[in-house]
Symmetry: C2
Subunit: 316 residues, 2 copies
């Protein structure tokens, strides 16, 4: 279990004066020349787990092109920078290619990455290329720069803060998981113009990532199920599948929405929601409370425990 | 072929004002706050290719512990920083773990990495952990800081420069490939106290990496085969195997020596070799020439073409 490993690592990795932020956040922050906060993040994506280059019965996804896989590999990392409200600076890419067809795959991956890099003014600094007799792995590391307000962190939420979400949730399997826009501009704009206490991007599921934000902040979170913005694809996915999961179930636990969850003080949240300063909708979906744990309510109804479903990397 | 991919990428990755050095070197260099050169490098290592967690008939290596694999994954990246004469600052680690036994492997990897990180005052900033049904991949990204003289590059060798090597070569399979010391201190000391034109670390083979240095510098290189320092393990490996390869063959192409090859102007090389300022030996093993290509000679004998054997990641 990953959380076990992180707990184990926290005990073993000593604090370092250069490292302002290490384990437990979306990215690492270090300071250079006492002027700028640099943000570093890494994410590895694997064929058969995060995408499927070849369609197979056992797959979660329909077959994807290397271009789609490449774009996604970069975009998930950009989303981590967005979670910190950091501007992308530079990226390096480590590829582990299958021996057969590796060259074409590598090209396709970069074809998927480069336009996105250009869009976000990210310098791709090359990296490392390897090959083997197993499926593709793409590992992307990004370095970014925090705004003058410093990085947005997971650990600043306070009881009473509203949970504010960008966009809509659920059904990412129907396409969004390849075509999402990392919320870089939105995060930077909000961080610079509003008082945000904490933030996270939703990669593994709305409920799961919210519970992580609350845990890092040492508080609890109550999700108002009646207020969760549900994506059209969540409804479509619920209709298509016979597993009985509702559109809300999909919104809570599908993951790969790559939207932002923000902790915003109540008055500031009111202002933010009234202004709606972004092109995408902002919605209040609950609030943080002193009591730890993840909770649900419907509108003004009673509060009950909520088990965070979502995508976990299981290993033992 | 990797070189094909790099050539293809060079055409497609536009120059970026922030990026002082990208493709074609051991690490990327970018500048922050107009004060310091940061160096970024990434290397992914794979079970069954760079080490074997389980012994198998098809393996190049005897079985290694996760600790050995972890140390190696960090050390090869430190060696890339050494090649740039950069001080380690910060590292992030992406793990792709097998589902079975992944937790124990991950711990072992970090157990191998952390002492080395401490030794080199490297801040490990966490990273990303994933799992799947295939062998282990460890991808390490390091950020370092160049000395006041700027990063040592592959591209500065000039005709007439001597080729100066640290240490001894060959036979790394017998143990050195896990236990080598990245030449960080040596590279920084030499770069700060002597006039070096270019440098590279030998990961894929003395001959192959020398040819890369020469190519990046737009010149050729003549290796004096009678001057190559041969490791004891190269002799032992030649004795053990019946493939007819001599100790020199091993020294030229085994790879994973993680020694440095430096391009040093003739007078400076003379001074350097006379002083022998390091605890490890420095040797002149040839010189750079205007005519491109890799060449060999024995002492004062005639110059003949040399085909660089070595470790290449083959994919098609």
């Amino acid at each position: 279990m990953e959380s076990q490993l992180i707990a184990w690592l926290r005990e073993r990795i000593p604090p370092h004066p250069r490292l302002r932020l290490g384990l437990g956040d979306d990215a690492a922050v270090f300071q250079l020349a006492r002027e700028e906060d640099c943000v570093v993040t890494v994410d590895a994506l694997m064929d058969g787990v995060d995408f499927n280059l070849v369609e197979a019965a056992s797959c979660r996804f329909p077959a994807a092109s290397p271009q789609h896989a490449g774009r996604k590999a970069l975009a998930v990392n950009l989303s981590d920078l967005a979670a910190m409200a950091a501007r992308p600076l530079l990226g390096v890419v480590a590829l582990v290619l299958p021996k057969q067809g590796g060259l074409e795959i590598a090209r396709g991956l970069y074809e998927g990455m480069l336009p996105l890099a250009e869009q976000y003014d990210l310098a791709i600094a090359g990296g490392d290329t390897n090959s083997w007799d197993h499926p593709l792995v793409v590992s992307v590391t990004l370095i970014g720069r925090a705004t003058g307000r410093g990085p947005l962190r997971r650990s600043g939420a306070q009881p009473g803060d509203r949970i504010v979400a960008t966009g809509r949730f659920g059904g990412s399997l129907l396409g969004k998981h390849f075509h999402f826009e990392p919320r870089i501009q939105e995060a930077i704009y909000l961080h610079e113009h509003f008082r945000l206490h904490a933030g996270i991007d939703v990669s593994d599921g709305l409920a799961l990532d919210l519970s992580r934000l609350a845990e890092e902040s040492g508080c609890g979170a109550v999700l108002d199920l009646s207020a969760v913005p549900i994506a059209e694809d969540a409804k479509r996915l619920a209709e298509q599948s016979a597993d009985g999961r509702t559109p809300l179930d999909h919104a809570l636990s599908d993951g790969e929405d790559f939207e932002l969850l923000l902790a915003v003080p109540p008055e500031e949240a009111e202002k933010l929601l009234a202004e709606q300063p972004l092109e995408i909708p902002l919605a209040a979906v609950g609030e943080f409370i002193a009591e730890p744990g993840l909770w649900r309510r419907e509108g003004k109804g009673p509060r009950r425990p909520l088990t965070p479903g979502g995508w976990l990397h299981d290993f033992s």
